[in-house]
Symmetry: C2
Subunit: 582 residues, 2 copies
């Protein structure tokens, strides 16, 4: 065994220093770009390991449902050993979902984008137990969750209940079919690793099928008609990947059918990538046009049969076309577990669980929700305007001086982030400008506002409230934020660090969650990517593709996946994508 | 696109120089071993490209059924452009099957051991059409094969017929369950890439299942009881791989269940690896004993239910044990297609299609069979003894002189390889010694044999006839041999190079197929491998493992798979095996 000591040692050092993965990976690019990427820091929530709570021997039980971006980010950053953590998820791995479109065509292998949960949570001081099971019910009254194992077993015991002191719901969302008939039966989705694997197998099968000797030309054309529904980032990236796969790899191996392959992208709105800057949308649409991808905007799918997909066009006409394969990628819907739980706690007519700004589920104790299954119900300034006014009016004079106001400005901005957004949108330097606006042209220092004037000054700020997008970035930041809260729970209990409670006494324990947008990519194929960076910077082209490589390599969850993803990219450059039907 | 020219060029050079893959890969090992491995040369069948037959514009149609070792070896080596080749196989890829046991535990990834057929056959001068379909019937009378596509399709045309001038049957074999009840329903096999993938997923699922909170200890033990049936090279290698996977990777991640994992290897005979040298068998049995693998020899499986596996021991007793997972690996059986075809051509009560020494199916015209679906029916010397005598007795004197005999010695040895084997087994220098033995102590030159004496001299040689083992090595050598015959078909028609026809006039077109055994490996886990090399050399231990790495890397079908397999091995050393349940 002598020869392996060296390997063992390397292996061990990689296994143990998973925290090294926070290191930046910087790729120097011939195009001249250098990309660096860092974890955002939640303001003021610094990482401190507290060991209190361990003393009395009774650890609090934290149950985490789900191991997607939010769940894993929470688990990776939870360092306080005073919790007993139980993780429940139907998958025993975390998947780096932004690379799923790459997996569909073999640019990256499925196993390169997954990492076992048990490996991620294997930390020295933390007690984490993982169970591969699906949560089927939450009992907030009795602080219990009910779970069912989805493992194929001939034994009993596949259902069990777990008690919690704190529950973190991070189960994500499911595909939204908008109840379109035939979608579940006939379409591929692109949400899980298995979906991507199935798509890859099916694409190759379609090429094999079209190469069989006994078919008519019409049949071959139908078989090789690939339809992508949904012009969001995922649908667009999949269409681009598929186009590259066909053009760079498959046409060489299936020369007889190369001219009859057709890719159609259907989008119900007027443009694809409509959450991006117009320049990106225009570039993408033009590139797809050049690539021969048939882009149909304003085209809503109304039905999918086993042979045809029917759409309703802008003019109201219904038309149908035969297809070989449909990939459905139109946004997210609510999971049944969340739907039931919302009914139970009286949150109805919502797409996701409403939480407050501290990610606590509204109407529940000790239940948190993060990621795609949750949405933050930002409190309106106007709801609290009276409380804010009386809190600020320290001398109870009935009017607010600038001095009084200045003392609570920071707390207001922290508690109601829409205020800052509003000021920014109006190009105002500070909140005093806002007051000034409603107080005429008095000198700053002389401003004194009545409650009515204060109300009218702030009357528009709530218009700036926006829901956060359902992205990996939001989920990861929420998980990180929540972990940091959990790490300092007792400390902040004693010594709260949040803003003043306007409708109560004292301060909030923690600062509320604030999302920091770090930019978003839209890979468009042919080694070109568009990126919308913070501050409305737009970057398009080959160098952005290298930025994309660099960011995605650095964001990998482990050194193993990082090494594999990079070697997959290199392998693709050298050998192309594999087209074996496995 | 400037930056990719370099990659494109590398890519192209790799794609085009697939013949480079014949190069030896030599790994220098710290243990001191250096391994070199070369393709065996069929004696005298040199590779010459003939272009005749292309002139009249009517190419002969060669249909190849199957793309395993034999089929691919045939296709890779067929260089004569005067054939239209059609390949029919239910899989569009070739799988490097000796690495399947490594795939079961993630030591090597499935995609690293497969290569698309279309990539392998993409040659400049050769017209090869591939169809992903299964052959369901052979009509030797009308020179047709009937095929059915197994692709999931909603179109017609999944059945079609193909005409042939020459048919090469290389469909391999299927798993042999010996009609044991419950095997098909409850056991895993290890024959295809999909089987290996399923085993990997199931092993991890069993560990997850045993980690669920609601089970009794007894249930956990049952779930983690892995049973391997069959002590041949595949079963032994799988048991060893599984043991390594559990010991090196899984016990770290599932510490609570590590002590209850049990691996049982069942073998009906008295020893495992009984086709190997006794030293190897003893070493393997001792190693398994040390590793805690429960080895039960003389134990024949008689039934598998959903919960228990029942065996009949040497003393006739039937005993049952609960299991979590069973892998069945007991040898090969006949595919239904071959069974039906044998019935049709009157070959009954056989395990495989009988061919002559030129791999032509007996009783058929222009049909060849290679690999596991075929067996060579070596002609006995005693059947032809009269013909041999009269052909050798040139002066028709009724006796055979040494001079006369020497003139046909080479032809006899070539036509009847058992003669040489017999001489070797008796430690005789040459065939004349054999004659001398039956002629007393006369001087060599004075020997004269009557037909009766000649018969008695050769009476024992046929005892040396042996069936070839059903291995990748035999299949690959047969495919190579057949391709070389096809390459020189017309040339050898004019100018035959085979031995004299003893029962006819002239010479045979080709030399008969001769198998050259290059040795066999038995990986035993823990970086130890046993190898039985030609000349009954036995090598066991770490350095043999490096020989194994070196040989298996060099034998890969493409540079892509070679690079991937080697990088998989490195990845395993550094990061361990992945245990994500995908």
């Amino acid at each position: 065994m002598r020869t392996f000591t060296f390997y063992d040692r390397i292996s061990r050092s990689f296994h143990q220093h998973s925290s090294l993965s926070k290191l930046l990976v910087v790729l120097t690019v011939s195009g001249g770009g250098i990309a660096a990427y860092a974890e955002p820091k939640s303001p003021g929530v610094n990482l401190i390991n507290t060991t209190e709570g361990d003393g009395d021997g009774k650890k609090k039980k934290v149950v985490v449902l789900g191991t997607g971006w939010a769940g894993i980010s929470f688990l990776k950053n939870l360092k306080n050993p005073s919790y007993d953590v139980q993780v429940i998820s139907p998958r025993n791995y975390f998947a780096f979902t932004p690379l799923l479109p790459s997996v569909t065509c073999g640019t990256v292998e499925p196993r390169s984008v997954v990492e076992p949960i048990r490996k991620i949570v294997k930390k020295k001081n933390l007690d984490v137990v993982f169970s591969e099971a699906e949560c089927i019910g939450i009992d907030a009254q009795n602080k219990k969750v009910y779970c069912r194992s989805n493992l194929d077993s001939n034994l009993n015991g596949e259902e069990f209940a777990v008690d919690y002191d704190f529950l973190v719901i991070a189960v994500g969302a499911r595909v939204n079919t908008f109840n379109t008939p035939g979608v579940v039966e006939h379409c591929h989705f692109l949400k899980e690793v298995e979906d991507a694997q199935r798509i890859r197998k099916t694409v190759i099968e379609k090429f094999e099928e079209a190469s069989l000797p006994s078919l008519s030309d019409e049949e071959r054309k139908t078989i090789l008609h690939f339809v992508v529904v949904g012009g969001g980032p995922t649908g667009v990236e999949f269409a681009a990947e598929l186009h590259d796969f066909v053009k760079e790899d498959l046409t060489k191996l299936y020369p007889k059918v190369k001219d009859i392959v057709k890719i159609t992208l259907l989008e119900a709105a007027d443009h694809i990538l409509n959450m991006f800057d117009k320049r990106i949308t225009a570039f993408a649409e033009e590139k797809f046009h050049r690539d021969g991808i048939d882009l149909k905007t304003g085209s809503m799918v109304v039905k999918v049969s086993d042979k045809e997909i029917s759409t309703k066009e802008r003019n109201g006409e219904i038309s149908s076309m035969p297809y070989g394969m449909v990939v459905w990628s139109t946004g997210i819907g609510t999971r049944p577990l969340i739907m039931n739980f919302m009914k139970q706690i009286g949150q109805t007519n919502r797409r996701a669980l409403a939480t407050d700004e501290w990610l606590r589920v509204e109407g529940c104790d000790n239940i948190y929700a993060v990621g795609d299954c949750a949405t933050i119900n930002q409190r309106k300034v106007m709801e609290d305007i009276g409380a804010i006014f009386s809190k600020a009016d320290k001398d109870k004079s009935g009017t607010l001086t600038v001095k009084e106001f200045k003392e609570v400005i920071d707390d207001i901005c922290e508690r109601y982030p829409q205020v800052e957004l509003y000021l920014k949108s109006k190009d105002m330097g500070g909140i005093v400008d806002l007051l000034k606006e409603s107080n005429g042209d008095v000198k700053k220092e002389a401003i004194e506002l009545s409650i009515e004037e204060f109300k009218s000054a702030l009357s528009q700020v709530d218009s700036q409230m926006k829901n956060l997008p359902a992205t990996a970035q939001v989920a990861a930041q929420q998980g990180l934020y929540l972990a940091k809260c959990f790490n300092r729970m007792e400390e902040c209990e004693r010594d709260p660090e949040g803003p003043i409670r306007f409708r109560g006494e004292g301060r909030h324990r923690f600062r509320p969650f604030r999302y920091k947008h770090l930019g978003q990519f839209a890979p468009l194929g042919g080694e070109q990517t568009a990126a919308q960076l913070p501050g409305d910077w737009v970057s398009i082209g080959h160098s952005t593709q290298w930025l994309w490589y660099s960011v995605y390599a650095s964001k990998q969850v482990s050194w193993r996946t990082r090494a594999l993803v990079i070697s997959d990219w290199m392998r693709r450059f050298i050998f192309g994508r594999d087209s074996s039907g496995i």
